[in-house]
């Protein structure tokens, strides 16, 4: 059984990192958006492997469902002409590459050499009960505040995109 798990993990990992690379490197934006959705799905699979079913469910609903749609909205509403590959990268790319490499290499090396301190892993049957208890009992207030945050974001987004009505069609003023 574990062999399947390991194989699954390998596939999902490849999909994750590959999808990410695709998002960064692909020319067409629509393709990039779809690769992003693919990455989200692989991430959901990872969550399942870890036994966090609820989180996986949330991941699919929110990321694959809502955020991907939002991104595609954004892509569609901002059409740009076709760009050649050369104009693809920002001017700061060389410098950015060096700096990022300097940051990334130590971290990734450390991540790869990470040793699990506790030995035997503890796997709860599922995370639903514990998660819901935490959200609705222990962290109820932050939960409410999060909903206010969403409200604020919604209002903010509407305000930001509002058109300045200069024309007479703007109605009563």
């Amino acid at each position: 059984m574990d062999g399947i798990g390991t194989a699954l993990f390998a596939v999902l990992a490849l999909g994750l990192v590959g999808g990410g690379l695709a998002v960064v490197l692909v020319n067409r934006i629509t393709a990039a958006a779809l690769f992003m959705a693919f990455t989200f799905l692989c991430n959901a699979g990872m969550f399942l492997l870890l036994g966090a079913e609820v989180i996986a469910m949330f991941q699919v609903i929110i990321y694959v469902g809502a955020i991907t749609v939002l991104i595609i909205f954004g892509v569609m509403l901002t059409p740009q002409g076709d760009r050649r590959y050369g104009l693809f990268f920002q001017k700061q790319t060389p410098v950015a590459a060096i700096v990022l490499a300097a940051v990334a290499i130590p971290v990734v090396v450390f991540a790869f050499s990470f040793r699990d301190p506790t030995g035997a892993p503890h796997l709860a049957p599922g995370d639903l009960k514990a998660l819901t208890t935490s959200i609705f009992v222990d962290y109820a207030v932050p939960f409410e505040i999060a909903s206010i945050l969403l409200l604020a974001a919604m209002v903010g987004a509407i305000v930001l995109v509002k058109r300045e009505s200069d024309d007479a069609a703007g109605g009563e003023r």
Partner: protein
């Protein structure tokens, strides 16, 4: 009343505030009577204080408020009431009151009327502080205050150039004297541990004679500045640019006498400092004759009186220097009366002659202005020291004291200057009031002044007659017994026989009569003709008319130097101090400009800078973890 002595300066101060705050818009012409009323009330209170001291009240200190109390350094705002200050109080307030009343008439056409009556009571306040102070520091407050008011009042018509310049000159020369005062004051504190008169005079023995001489000469420098003695005398004639009542009050009767008061008050210090007193006497005598010679050839009636004031102040310092401080105070009091009268009378003449001050354009005015004439005649006689007028008693005592002190040279100078004094005052009177009018147009319009101006003249004339009798009989009069114990030098109580005194008096009177006689002959009878005399003595005449070229000398040597020095300082200020600040600003601006280049406006750069920061943090953390950093 002595315990309420602080009410005396308080009233003029109140008048200053009231007139200052409300005079321009609401009170206007009422400012005059308000100020005069306040000073008049002060005069009444001063009289009460005087009578109380007269009645035997001992030296009293009335403390108003503890001003400074730091460790050993303790200064109170306190008044020292004793015969000396009581006399000064009386003289200052009475003469100030008369001048205030006079000014209501004299300044009635001036558009700055309220401003005049704001500064004038302020001056009275400052002078009263000076007189009442029981310590040098408080006295200095009053000292400076009268200097400021003098500046404000000399430059009263500041829209014109000459008054502004004269005011500045007066203030700057005063300041030089103030420097001396400050040195004296500080040294006094360092040596005696106090600035309080009573304390210091008790501790005179604590200091060596050299130190005492330094202190006394420093104070005397201050007195020279304030009382216009050489070498700081030339501001006073220029101060005649101010209104005549100002000249009468400040530059004849009160402020300029502050120097005399200072030295008189500090008698215990001066007498213990050996060489100081002879220097005082010498300077006084020299100034007296110097100013008198210049007065001989002045054509402006106020200038004659100004130089006369300088000369008479010289007499007072001469008296102080030969060990006769009572005589100095006596002359101070009588001079206040008749010199104020001479100035106010001159003002009356100027007023009647439509602001003409040049005596060469006057003449024959006694028919048109009788009250002015007769009162000025009395004052002129007092100035010439004719018995039985006030000036005779006081001046004669001074020259007599010089003789009896053994300073025959000084006595001779005093007598000769007396002759000169008599001459120039006769000249002034004759040119103004006698003979034929030289400017018919002005003469036709000339008129006597209104009662508000002539009444003070009459009062002062009465004073000029009677004030002398406080010093009669000589050396044993009322004033000697009154002030004497306060200032009298130890071991100087000599009572010479009356024959000696009478002989000396006769010499003085003779000199005066000679002066009058020559004056009358030259200016009434034209024998010899003044113009001819001037031609004959051309070099001397030129020297006198140009005031010995002292102003030019000062201008070339001192003023030019300080102007240049000021230029250097100004350049320093502009280039180095301002330059430093400017360059500092430039540095900040340049730094900002440099740092601004981090704001590229490209969002990607900002994201990169976040990563760079992360890199730095990682390096820092790594350094701690590895052990490179602590």
């Amino acid at each position: 009343m002595v315990n309420l002595v602080w009410a005396i300066p308080a009233l003029p101060l109140a008048a200053f505030f009231v007139n200052g705050l409300f005079g321009r818009r609401w009170l206007k012409q009422a400012t005059g009577p308000i100020a005069a009323g306040a000073v008049g009330a002060s005069a009444l209170m001063a009289t009460a204080v005087f009578l109380e001291v007269l009645g035997g009240r001992a030296q009293t200190t009335v403390v108003l408020y503890q001003w400074i109390g730091v460790g050993d350094f303790r200064i109170d705002i306190a008044a020292l009431v004793d015969p000396l200050s009581a006399v000064m109080l009386l003289v200052v307030t009475v003469v100030s009151f008369l001048v205030h009343v006079y000014s209501i008439g004299y300044m009635s056409h001036d558009h700055g009327f309220h401003r005049f009556f704001t500064w004038l009571p302020l001056f009275v306040f400052a002078m009263l502080i000076l007189v009442l102070a029981d310590n040098y520091l408080l006295m200095f407050v009053g000292w400076e205050g009268v200097g400021v008011c003098s500046y404000l009042l000399i430059g009263y018509w500041f829209e014109r150039h000459e008054p502004s310049v004269a005011a500045k000159k007066a203030f700057v020369m005063n300041r030089i004297g103030d420097w001396g005062f400050t040195i004296g004051m500080v040294t006094t504190f360092l040596v005696f541990g106090s600035m309080n008169f009573v304390d210091v005079f008790h501790r005179v023995g604590m200091a060596s004679q050299a130190v005492l001489t330094v202190i006394c000469l420093a104070f005397f420098l201050g007195a020279c500045g304030k009382s216009a003695q050489l070498p700081l005398s030339s501001w006073l004639p220029d101060a005649m640019e101010g209104p005549t009542p100002v000249s009468a009050l400040i530059h004849a009767a009160t402020m300029v006498t502050a120097g005399v008061y200072l030295v008189a008050r500090s008698t215990p210090l001066f007498e213990a400092a050996g060489p100081a007193l002879p220097i005082v006497a010498a300077v006084g005598a020299l100034t007296a004759i110097f100013a008198a010679t210049i007065a001989l050839v002045q054509n402006d009636i106020k200038r004659v009186m100004a130089y006369s004031t300088v000369s008479q102040l010289g007499y007072m310092f001469l008296a102080l220097g030969v060990g006769a401080p009572v005589a100095a105070m006596f002359h101070l009091a009588t001079h206040a009366f008749f010199k104020a009268l001479l100035f106010l009378g001159s003002g009356s003449v100027i007023h009647g002659m439509q602001n003409e001050q040049d005596m060469r354009k006057m003449g024959g005015l006694r028919r048109k202005m009788p009250v002015t004439y007769w009162t000025m005649l009395v004052a002129g006689g007092a100035l010439a020291a004719m018995p039985p007028l006030a000036g005779f008693w006081s001046k004669d005592e001074i020259v007599g004291a010089a003789f009896l002190h053994g300073d025959t040279l000084l006595w001779g100078v005093g007598v000769f200057t007396g002759a000169l004094t008599a001459f120039y005052v006769t000249r002034a009177m004759v040119l103004t009031f006698h003979g034929e009018p030289r400017d018919q147009h002005l003469y036709d319009h000339a008129h006597e002044s209104p009662a508000v101006m002539t009444l003070p003249l009459i009062v002062l004339a009465v004073g000029s007659v009677l004030a002398g009798f406080v010093g009669f009989p000589p050396e044993a009069g009322f004033i000697h017994g009154f002030i004497g114990p306060v200032v009298q030098l130890h071991g100087a109580a000599h009572h010479p026989e009356y024959t000696v005194i009478a002989a000396l008096a006769a010499v003085s009177v003779a000199a005066g009569l000679i002066g009058i006689g020559i004056g009358l002959a030259m200016y009434r009878g034209r024998r010899p003709d003044p113009a001819a005399v001037a031609r004959l003595t051309r070099p001397v005449y030129r020297l006198l008319v140009n005031k010995y070229f002292i102003d030019e000398l000062y201008d070339r040597r001192f003023v030019a130097f300080f102007t240049g020095f000021g230029g250097v300082m100004s350049a320093f200020d502009v280039h180095i101090i301002d330059g430093f600040v400017n360059r500092l600003g430039w540095v900040v601006s340049a730094a900002g400009g440099g740092l601004r280049r981090a704001q590229t406006g490209v969002v990607g750069n900002y994201a990169l800078s976040v990563v760079v920061g992360l890199l730095a943090l990682m390096a820092l953390y790594g350094g701690y973890a590895v052990g490179v950093l602590r």
